[in-house]
Symmetry: D2
């Protein structure tokens, strides 16, 4: 029997932190031994999230009060900018899986440009591996610091990376219309996240200004071999979880070829579904699970195709991919702790 | 004081029919004297829609049992295909405002191609006026049969017609990603409309095959002077009402110019709002009302702009525009019966 | 033609304030000339609520900057406790319709007990008239300060007052299970009002401790002639608007008698619907309108009946009743500005 | 290693059937070898429920086409009345866990009275064991046919059975106000289940006439030793899953004693949580899981207490409890296949 690794979660009182706890609680080879949440230090997880009642979880602590020497890996669910300040204080031999945006952009200048502040841990930045599990598996296996992709980039890149690599779609005119459930904005207590400001309505946000755009462009540029600028337009949908990206792309190929290319690229991937021909991916196909549902359709405009990817923004888009990366880093089966089937309805 | 006109509503048990009744009940110059609903004939509206309790509405009848001789105008909310069969039985001097798709496509062949059946009233088809109130006002004023646009085409064309006319955007690469509340699919009792199949999730539907595409293309072609093929991809959003179209268009102009062009085109229009610079149109800005909220943004891709229009699919997208057209046809103030402010939250 | 009265709204940036503006904007005899919102002073309503785009509304001001001398009446939508501090600064000859809880409890000691602070304007308290329009119409007509009932008490008392008066139900064992949409908690930016904390779930709140209980008990005691203690258990429902109270009461009468008593009590009331026999009141019967839908059913337990009332918490439960009271105070028709039919779906 | 049992699911295209498949797919000692769905026979589960893409599930069959000889147990998710007609055709040595209402009422006359038809398999009825896992564990272990309780009775009885047994509450005046997500009504394609008829609103249904009342009364009567009639008033809540029962009961005890009695009764129960003092049970505490969250509060009315239970209607209220019963019948650990933590948000 495999000995269990000792895992910590920082930022356990946020949605991604809590979802990591939900998944780790059922992981056969991981034991949660440290939970950190700054303002809630001293409380128990079940005081904040009563759904965890009955689990024997450690009490919430401040990061600075933790003895990290016995911990194998930490998942970090802190807000952007805070993460880098905390992570740079952790011991060098502690493996870190970060779910914030702090280590995703490989270039500190790009970071500064989009986040409006200089990166405070550029040395760590150059060390970080981009944690898109299906595409950077080898680097992740040997990484000390993994930067899990944003939820939108995860969905977008799972679709586009194999197609751009294969030369099947153009990168010069990519329109990405994205739709996310409200948990995508985190547990921030702000007016725009109130039920009455989000239920029974929809709208775009961060138009031509969302911070996931440079992350998408960075990764597409690497495989395209040229600079890429995309249209990325996220919309807020009145649902808790779920993320759908609808991508409108120029292509000389037809949907059938694209489906074939995706199937070929993801033949062995445990979490990637290519829908049957004509199946329109829905967020309800993946809710609560680590799966992604992809598909492609011919457009009526000549030379264009329509691509869809649906994921759960908190799972494959964050804590699930973090656990998947942990599995890669420690040599566990890739699906350990992630076997839950989607919850529908 | 203006004498009240006598109005009938056919298909009163559907959502568009009922919403027409809601609006007409408060109209200062219209009196509802006939209500038709085939399977519910003999019942009262409040038996089906208890929200109408207390209104003195006529009982539901079958169309064939109505004496139409005293009626000035009828609003027809029947399903597609049924509408043409019923409307061709109505007296020649009865004005008709049809909310179905039956008389929107000016070409019977296009109709047959998209609806999979020959049009059974081609003579009426050639008579029909396309009821986009802000753009066909003059024709509507003297029309006998007005074909109200589909909900999606209403939102799309309010945005695009002035811009295409002004040569500000290209028509050869229009990407229209649309989002609709579930009432957009009508009151059809089918599995995909169940709460548990639509709540807490989102997905596209009728990909590259939605029947509102040819309607949009028909109207754009008239102003563009050439054939037009658009990408039109509707998505189902877990909300009752509301429709948002996100349009990604090639343009040599910038958003500021486009906003100016829209403002100029709609200077006098009572129901068209151009949002302040940077305001992202939301369906909650127009819920329950006849308003449309439009706006434009610069894309990060050179030579592209992002356009949004939000309407209430049942009001401006159907029964509200029908009442607006009725006002035009009878010389009433254009806002009569349509003064309700949006309901938010 | 009646001259329009000049109306102010204080607390215009909250949900009840904004809903008052929505209703007043369509009132034939009222003109909004002053809008106050402390932290938003200097902005326009459409900056905060874009649904008001196009209405010619005055800019937002601070209360202390207003010249009240030309104003006929003010509707006050401030939070509890704040309201009393502001209202006591207003001129003596200004009529005030308060939508907060500050002047509902007639006894300053009861106020102090439930609100945990001494009332700072006890003189005003003794002047205030309880603004349940259908039951205190005469007092309201001549009042200077009207305290609009809470949303729950409105629904509960519309059902119970006539029945207790008529001796049809017992007051000693009233179980009131109430359900409210999230707007009932106001526009407070707090964690429990976030979409992800309220959507797709339900729970009770303020169990045996909600501040609407003493208000209900105060009014029931007046007609019962004895002290009353009720069970009042509110639940949060994932919807924007709407309030349903399910009351379980001991009665020697049957539902038919109770329905008859309600019909008799509300024969002339414009906004009170008694549902047809067997019709179960739903919040969707009244959404966005000033109506209440009431009904009664026999329980299977001998000697018990089940009563329901549905209202829109922001309209009949707050700003709509405020406008109705304004109509009474100024001798307008009771339905002026409140003619909107319910919005369903 | 334990050999896997061979399991069939009848009615696999309904919500309870599909949720059973979701849970069984992760069960360490069960293998799904037969799936039945009458109208969908010949299709695959993933054609109907794309969330099952990638699972190696058997194709859907008709019940009469199955060779049952190698099957150990079948979970039956057929609609009421249909279930008895199908189950009586199954081999005598096949263990059956029925999720319908057909075998819950021990008395065929009571069945006939509430379901309006004579029971067609009264011999089976007398054989059936009531499958409330925590209370009938011993009978379930040796049962051939287990009738899983209704979702509402599960929540109600988990709360009340220990308290009635202990003499802590009276059974003569029980008010049970229940709230359910829409999946509680099944996947029936009927108007009242449409999104637009259920979203953004709430109402009671089956007032004083719901078929779960006699089931609750039957079980309470057994422990009370006398006939019981309860008020049971279910309400439909705009959410997919989740069930909350709010029970108003006469009691000489206080909430603290009741909490203690519940804790004592369920000391060893894996799925029963007694919330911390003051914690109000929410459906989001149990979503997607087999847990129940219980709690008790003092009422302000003397001699009364307020009790709450929250479950997921499709899991603990149906398929989860079915799997729990299967575990009991085959000697597996009670939590096998049911370890998923609740999904929140």
């Amino acid at each position: 029997m495999t000995k269990k690794i000792k895992v910590g979660v920082i930022g356990a009182s946020g949605y991604t932190g809590a979802d990591a706890v939900r998944l780790l609680a059922g992981h056969p080879y991981a034991e949660i031994v440290v939970l950190c949440a700054h303002t809630h230090a001293g409380q128990n997880m079940e005081d904040i999230f009563p759904q965890f009642t009955g689990l024997a979880l450690p009490p919430l602590q401040k990061v600075e009060d933790v003895d990290w020497s016995k911990i194998d890996v930490v998942l970090c669910g802190l807000p952007h900018a805070t993460a880098q300040d905390v992570i740079c204080t952790l011991p060098d031999d502690l493996k870190i899986i970060d779910m914030s945006a702090d280590f995703r952009l490989r270039n500190a200048d790009t970071y500064a440009q989009w986040y409006g502040r200089a990166h405070t841990a550029p040395a760590l930045l150059s060390q970080a591996v981009y944690g898109l599990s299906e595409h950077y598996g080898d680097e992740i296996k040997s990484a000390r610091l993994v930067a899990c992709p944003g939820c939108y980039p995860t969905a977008v890149l799972l679709l586009l990376l194999p197609l751009v690599k294969a030369g099947l779609i153009d990168v010069d005119d990519l329109i990405i219309d994205a739709k996310s459930g409200v948990s995508g904005t985190g547990r921030n207590v702000k007016e725009s996240n109130l039920f009455c400001e989000t239920a029974e309505g929809t709208q775009a946000y961060s138009v031509a200004a969302h911070r996931h755009a440079p992350e998408i462009e960075q990764e597409l540029a690497r495989v395209a071999g040229c600079d890429v600028v995309v249209n990325f337009t996220p919309h807020l949908i009145p649902m808790n979880r779920g993320e759908l990206v609808s991508i409108y792309a120029k292509s000389k190929s037809r949907a059938a070829d694209i489906r074939a290319a995706l199937a070929s690229a993801y033949g062995d991937a445990a979490f990637i579904h290519i829908g049957a021909t004509g199946l329109v991916p829905s967020t309800r196909h993946v809710r609560g699970s680590n799966y992604a549902m992809l598909n492609a359709f011919d457009d009526r405009i000549d030379g264009r195709v329509i691509l869809f990817a649906a994921i759960d923004n908190l799972v494959k888009g964050s804590s699930g991919q973090a656990v998947q990366n942990m599995n890669l880093m420690f040599g566990f089966g890739e699906t350990c702790g992630l076997e839950q089937q989607p919850l529908a309805p």
